[in-house]
Each structure stands twice: as structure tokens, then as C-alpha cells.
Amino acid sequence: MESSRAITVTINDVEYEREVEARKLLIHFIRDDLDLTGSHIGCDTGNCGACSVIVDGVLLKSCMLLAVQADGATIETVEGLSESGELTPLQQAFSDHHALQCGYCTPGMLMSATALLRSNPNPSEAEVRKALQGNICRCTGYWNIIEAVKAAGGA
């Protein structure tokens, strides 16, 4: 039983060791302690998905996980998607299809879409919509996002 502990996490292939308070949410740890500000916060109830990251291969909302629970985990965030500034086909599809406006929900959207395409490379429109249900966008109305994910999936 402890109110803080030392944890080790690997994010986008970089290993970080930090002492964190037990009460600190993973998203605050990623944004504030590690300064990886690509993942965002859009609500305080676990609804919006702007903080979505992939933890040990599983898509999660990092606002409903304590940082201490990620001890030993391998985490992927939006900053890790493209290598040396080269956009992934999904990122390129988002730009081609105007799937982002303000870009605030985009990192979470990209992580959800990335997770979908890994398990289902050619999703139907219904599958895409279902996979993005946990990510709120207030700018686009989703239509262009759905098109972009379908295109990236080669559907």
C-alpha cells in the first residue's frame, strides 16, 4: 500500500522511469511528466477519447487508467505513428479526405483507427463507425473521418 511508486514505461520505443503519485492519471503522466502533448484531454468523464493510446497492443482511454497501472507497459501514442516525419497511409488519408479541422480529437481518432486497421485491415463503413464510437469530434461530423479510415483500409 503506497501513495506513490517508481514506474517504468516504454512509450514509442523510449523507456521512461519516473516516480509518480498513485492518484495521477496516465494521461496527465504522459502529457505533463513526459511532455508528450500529442494525446489530448477533452472531457472529465471518459467519454471523448481524445486521450486514446495503445497499451500493450490494446486501445484504451488513458484518462481511465492510473499511471502506476501502466508500470512495465509498452505504450503507443500519436507521436509514434509516423517515422522520421513520414506520414503513415492513415495519417495521409486523414489529410487527403479533410478528416480533421481543429485537429484536437485527431490523435485519439488516429489511435482508434490504427487499432481497428490492425485487427481488421478492410473494415466496412459500419465497422469503422463502431470502432470510432468512443472518439468525439465536434468539427467534422465524422463523415470525412469515416471516408479516410475506409480509404486507408483500402475499402
Binding site: 500500500m1 503506497e2 492519471l25 471518459g46 484504451l60 484518462c63 481511465m64
Partner: protein, 269 residues
């Protein structure tokens, strides 16, 4: 965001978890955290300590008995239930779990967390009540078996007492079940829901209308009989921004009928 200070423990066995829970009055078990962490963000309720059950393999997994009985570990996630071949022995389980929240939540949220939270809008309390699930609760004094209708005590309150843990959920064999809900948007939060099962006797449980699922036993599967049963259940549905008490009560009747129809169709199919 910004939780109050809290202690954290990550036991390596159920026994250890029970010891810690028993030793710390203000301690609460942390399952998927998809409800608890959000309540802590609001600082509406704050455990003094969290006992993290993630990683306790004993509390995971789905076993299908020879007689078709399902034994599900409370730390099994919705996603695991949706993907499980065994769970298809009771098809309604996967069907309903697939409607809960979103991918991220289904990847982390657990069946045990869902019923132990017993938020009135949750899907599983009425479903498990209708299909006659039984919960194994472990504590210092050993284990006890509690039927669903006695498991749910109030909002965020269940038969799992201080120092105890839900360790198993046992679901009898059966395939003739139904579930219906009116939700906030597609597959959203339930405004009202109902589950029905016609394995032998007819059991109907309506949700969102009281602190706990309301179980009724209609005289028959006829629409009118089901409506009468729900109407006679004597609950006073809460009113909120999404539904007046009367509207919610009305939905309970309509949804109960729909759930029963789905169940009976499957029975006759």
C-alpha cells in the same frame, strides 16, 4: 481529472487482495476502472485506497461446463466476452456486451466491475438478473453463493461487503434470451432497458427504473401479461433530463415486451 490522494496496492493473489481489503476500511477494489475512476475524477466519492485486481489471472477467464453452465471470472473484459467461443453458449452475453459504451471501454471494462458498480443505467445487472446468474463472493469467512436477485442492493452497492470480493459469476445454460433498450444515441447510455429469459420459467428484469434491477415473473409471454407484470412491480422510476418518471415506466413496459418477444422467438426458432 485530478483525483484526491489515494493509496495503491497491486496484490498478486486473491488471498492477498482480501487481506488488504479487510485491513483497510476505506479500500476499494479497482477492476477496469471505467466507472470508479470517473467517479473519483468528480471527487464525488473517494476510496482511501485502491486494490488493483488487474493481473489476477484467478479472476479472469471463461469456462464452459459440460452441462452448458458458464463460469466467468469477474475481471473478464467485455471485449473478451464478445470474442469468446465459450461465451457463445449464452449468446445474449456477447450481444449485450457489444452494445456497452465503446471499443476502449470494452477493452478495459469488466463484467465484474459492471455489476459491482450497479449504476442504474448499466446493461448487465438486469441481464444477469433475468438469466439467473449466481455470484461467488469471497471473504475472510470463505465463499458464499448469491443469486443475482439478492446481489444488487443499491446504486453502487451490492452484496459484496467490506473486505469481500466477487470472485466468480456462474451463468446457467440457456439460449432463449432477449434484451431491449432505448439509449442516448446509437448504443449509448441506457435511458431504460429490459432483459428477458425463457429457459423454463419466464424471467424479466427491467433496468434504469430503480436502484436495482426489477425482476418480474409474467404469468405468460403475452404482451399484456408482460405489461401487467411490469406495471404491477411497484417501482417509482426516477425522472431526469432524459425521461420523466412516467415515460421511463412506459419504456420499461415496452422494452420488457420487446425483450420477451426476442426471447420467445429464439425459443420457438
Amino acid at each position: 481529472m485530478l483525483l484526491r490522494e489515494v493509496e495503491y496496492a497491486k496484490p498478486s493473489s486473491v488471498a492477498e487482495a482480501l487481506t488488504i481489503l479487510a485491513a483497510n476500511d476505506g479500500a476499494r477494489a479497482l477492476a477496469g476502472g471505467q466507472t470508479l475512476v470517473n467517479v473519483m475524477k468528480a471527487r464525488a466519492a473517494s476510496p482511501d485506497a485502491l486494490v488493483d485486481l488487474n493481473g489476477l489471472e484467478e479472476l479472469k477467464g471463461i469456462e464452459l461446463g459440460a452441462d452448458g453452465t458458464l463460469s466467468i471470472g469477474p475481471m473478464t473484459t467485455y471485449a473478451e466476452i464478445c470474442a469468446s467461443a465459450e461465451a457463445r453458449a449464452r449468446p445474449i452475453l456477447g450481444e449485450v456486451c457489444a452494445q456497452i459504451a465503446d471499443v476502449q471501454v470494452r477493452n478495459r471494462g469488466t463484467i465484474g466491475g459492471n455489476i459491482c458498480a450497479n449504476d442504474p443505467t448499466n446493461h448487465l445487472p438486469p441481464l444477469l438478473t433475468a438469466i439467473g446468474a449466481q455470484m461467488t463472493i469471497a471473504g475472510a469467512g470463505g465463499e458464499r453463493l448469491v443469486p443475482a436477485e439478492e446481489f444488487f442492493i443499491g446504486v453502487y452497492l451490492t452484496a459484496v461487503g467490506p473486505g469481500e470480493l466477487l470472485t466468480r459469476i456462474v451463468i446457467p445454460a440457456g439460449r432463449h434470451d432477449g434484451f431491449a433498450a432505448v439509449t442516448l444515441g446509437v448504443d449509448g447510455t441506457c435511458i431504460a432497458n429490459a432483459a428477458a429469459s425463457v429457459n423454463g420459467s419466464l424471467r424479466v428484469a427491467v433496468g434504469c427504473v430503480a436502484a436495482t434491477p426489477v425482476l418480474v415473473h409474467p404469468a405468460s409471454a403475452d404482451d399484456d401479461a408482460v405489461r401487467d407484470a411490469v406495471r404491477g412491480a411497484g417501482f417509482e422510476a426516477p425522472s431526469d433530463v432524459h425521461a420523466s418518471s412516467a415515460y421511463r415506466a412506459h419504456l420499461a413496459e415496452v422494452l420488457a415486451v420487446r425483450a420477451v418477444r426476442q426471447a420467445t422467438e429464439r425459443a420457438s426458432a
